[in-house]
Amino acid sequence: MKIKEDSSTKWFRLLAYTVVLAGSILCLLPFLLIISASLTSNEAIIREGYNIIPSDFSFDAYKLIFLIPDDVIRAYGVTIFVTVVGTLLGLLLMTMAGYVLQRKDFKYRNFFSFFIYFTTLFGGGLVPYYMLITNYLNFENSMSALIWPSLMTPFLIILMRSFINSAVPDEVVESAKIDGANDFVIYYRIVMPLAVPGLATVGLFLALHYWNDWFHSALFINDAAKYQLQFYLYNIINTTNFLNSIGAGAGVVLSGPVPSESMKMAMAVVVTGPILFLYPFIQRYFVKGLTIGAVKG
């Protein structure tokens, strides 16, 4: 039997749908603008501004990008490599850390947890960080500078710890021990399979972080062949911004190719497009991840 809805529920539904609809349209609009601008001729953008429907349709921007696409392809390669390697390595390290930190028989677990947690409150700042990477670790201009710094995030370690804590009862570990499993076997045969949802969440957070990272390229990479995708895009925009901001007195004239407005937009589409299509499929893990994060820390 169907429960009859009263009118207030209906009204609430209507209101909720309207608000959500309006919200999603507001979110969609910028994307539409970017796509339409990338299909507009540059001259029309500068003269008339952005329009939802291109006022002067042209594929020139895409033609120019794909005339010599090696930069974009290389940047894609770097980002994919860094994301895959970084996520796998990071997951391995963080699950191990999380597993060890939640074992009740690890005497100093609270001290080490605090030690990790401490770094979220107090950091050395940019200059010591920079010196550590360039002068002591000598990571400058190598993939290491892109992968190492983000491998372990305190927040994710603590998330992993509390997830394993709640998903794997102590008794399971104990019985495995009685059956003769050593600590590492327990880790990868018992704990890992039970912690798959946690793995998915942490892995997603990590992968997203690597995918969106531009800062490490900006600081540590001088070789254009090793730029991450996001940095490649960001740097193009920054080059134009620099040209706009530098006064006439500096007398700087850049002779290299400076991308036009429509080219910037086309670049944004090329760079964000693929991940945008991937997003609907992985979105549900995000929702799950957020609820995992809500479990006690």
Binding site: R47, F111, N222, N238, S255
Partner: protein, 525 residues
């Protein structure tokens, strides 16, 4: 309580341990590097090569840092240069580029963290004067005759004098003479079409803007952009009030009487000028949304959205003109340098482009010797400025001609940002450069020295106030300049109140004192 204390001790202990580990690493790192000890060089004469009086027995890799983005073919150019350099100086060089993303932060990090940097670009807009004053660079006075005698004699003595900060040379100036002074830019074809006056002063400029507004309602008469402090205030002070340079903190010192430094902000003149900008905004000469503009003013001229620029330099004007001509052959641009109205023009100060050696460079001698090659050796100089002849460019009738266009050519003219190692005798220009040369020739007749750029401000005593003032400017002065405040007088009063709270008076007083000291020291009246 005891538990917490114990934990805290453990924490401190582990921190100390971690630090000592790092320190150990640094010790090793230092030893591993091939660093020629400075004391050994002049003594053993056998290893030094004939022309240069420096020790080149050990092979080194030099790290050169330039701003901006590296051109695509830079690795090939670098490989060729290294081939020559190994033979000449037993060294290789790596051209590093900072990109334009957070370049100022990166620049600071490069100089302050003791990284391996041997040559770095300097200019007044990268704060050469402040960095030199704070000891970021190596003094070159004694190194020059030993490591780069040819370079020392190549750069005129007065240029060496001009780049001195506190009595020492910290950078190798570029000898290419150019003007980056301002001038009106307008659409000559439209001016002729509507029979408008040629902009030579404020009145004719405003008449031109009014004429465009009346006849071309779809066009924005003048492009200003978000940086209104530079495009409106600095331009007006430069042209109309003949300021000695783009002085900070609302100070004004006329070029003809530089010791007479006055507070411009809050003065009657300031109010008058703000009202002028307000009238421009009210008349629709520029957009109400100007502070949020992201497109460049130059692009707006090229594409016919705007009809004038208040101020731009000859080089940029010329590149604008050429880009516009390729899109719209029938359009014309006019240019009137401010100098022709004011009767004087200042060529760029030697500080404007240069290369310095950071203080912690361990290969200073070789770096300077290499830089000498880069400037005075034609092979090095042209390759590092224009790429490979035949592949990247050809020379026709003495003019530079690129192969292909911007997207296909991996090294267009000066794409390596070779501003600092320009050598006038090796430079090849595009045909369109004749337009700039014509302007320069005119300005040469009325040239006077730049007396502002040599001044090195020391803001350590008012650093906090300086940062606070910047915020106040953005919040209260920018909307005033962009004509967004209806009550100009009241708005100016609010701005002055806030600026004084931020410590404007303290800043101005200290700056003035330093300025007067500088004038006295240099003997400028």
């Amino acid at each position: 309580m005891a538990g917490i204390q114990k934990k805290a001790w453990a924490l401190v202990l582990s921190l100390v341990l971690a630090l000592s580990l790092l320190a150990a690493c640094s010790g090793n790192g230092g030893n591993n590097e091939a660093s020629p000890s400075p004391s050994a060089s002049p003594a053993d004469g056998q290893s030094s090569e004939g022309t240069t009086g420096i020790d080149t027995s050990k092979r080194v890799e030099l790290q050169l840092y330039m701003l901006g983005n590296a051109p695509k073919d830079m690795p090939k150019v670098e490989a060729q240069i290294n081939e020559w350099l190994l033979e000449d100086l037993n060294a290789t060089v790596k051209f590093n580029y900072t990109t334009w993303t957070d370049w100022d932060q990166k620049y600071k990090l490069l100089l302050s963290t003791g990284q391996d940097v041997d040559l770095i670009y300097t200019a007044e807009w990268t704060q050469y004067q402040q960095y030199a004053k704070n000891g970021a660079f190596l003094a070159l006075d004694e190194l020059l005759p030993k490591a780069a005698p040819a370079l020392q004699s190549f750069v005129p003595q007065e240029m060496w004098e001009a780049v001195k900060i506190d009595g020492s040379i910290y950078t190798v100036p570029s000898t290419y003479k150019e003007y980056v002074t301002g001038g009106f830019v307008w659409r000559e074809d439209l001016r002729a079409k509507y029979n408008l006056p040629k902009p030579v002063d404020m009145d004719t400029f405003e008449a031109y803007l009014a004429g465009i507004k009346a006849n071309e309602p779809d066009m924005q008469p003048v492009a200003v952009g978000a940086a209104v402090d530079a495009t409106l205030e600095d331009a007006l002070l430069d042209f109309y009030r003949q300021n000695v340079g783009a002085l900070p903190y609302g100070l004004l010192a006329p070029y003809k009487d530089p010791s007479n430094m006055v507070n411009y902000w809050g003065s009657a003149e300031h109010l008058e000028d703000l009202k002028r900008f307000k009238s421009w905004a009210d008349n629709g000469y520029f957009s109400k949304n100007e502070l949020n503009e992201t497109e460049s003013n130059q692009d707006k001229i090229i594409n016919g959205k705007a009809a004038a620029l208040f101020s731009d330099n000859p080089t940029r004007f010329n590149s604008m003109l050429n880009q516009m001509k390729t899109l719209h052959p029938d359009w014309e641009l006019g240019y009137h340098p401010f100098g022709l109205t004011n009767g004087y023009a200042t060529p760029v100060h030697p500080i404007h482009n240069g290369f310095a050696i950071p203080k912690n460079s361990k290969k200073a001698e070789r770096a300077l010797a290499f830089y000498e090659k880069l400037v005075t050796d034609k092979r090095y100089n042209q390759l590092a400025s224009y790429g490979f002849e035949g592949t990247n460019y050809t020379v026709e009738n003495g003019y530079y001609k690129p192969v292909g266009d911007n997207t296909t050519n991996g090294f267009v003219r000066e794409a390596s940002n070779s501003w600092a190692w320009r050598n006038p005798s090796f430079m090849i220009f595009e045909e369109s450069y004749d337009g700039i040369q014509a302007i320069f020739d005119e300005l040469d007749k009325i040239q006077v020295p730049d007396i502002y750029t040599g001044f090195a401000e020391d803001y350590t005593t008012y650093q906090a106030e300086r940062a606070a003032l910047e915020q106040v400017m953005k919040q209260y002065l920018f909307p005033l300049m962009a004509g967004q405040v209806d009550d100009v007088e009241g708005g100016l009063q609010t701005f002055m109140e806030k600026a004084n709270q931020a410590g404007l008076e303290k800043i101005q007083e200290s700056y003035k004192q330093q300025w007067l000291n500088y004038l006295q020291e240099k003997g400028i009246q």
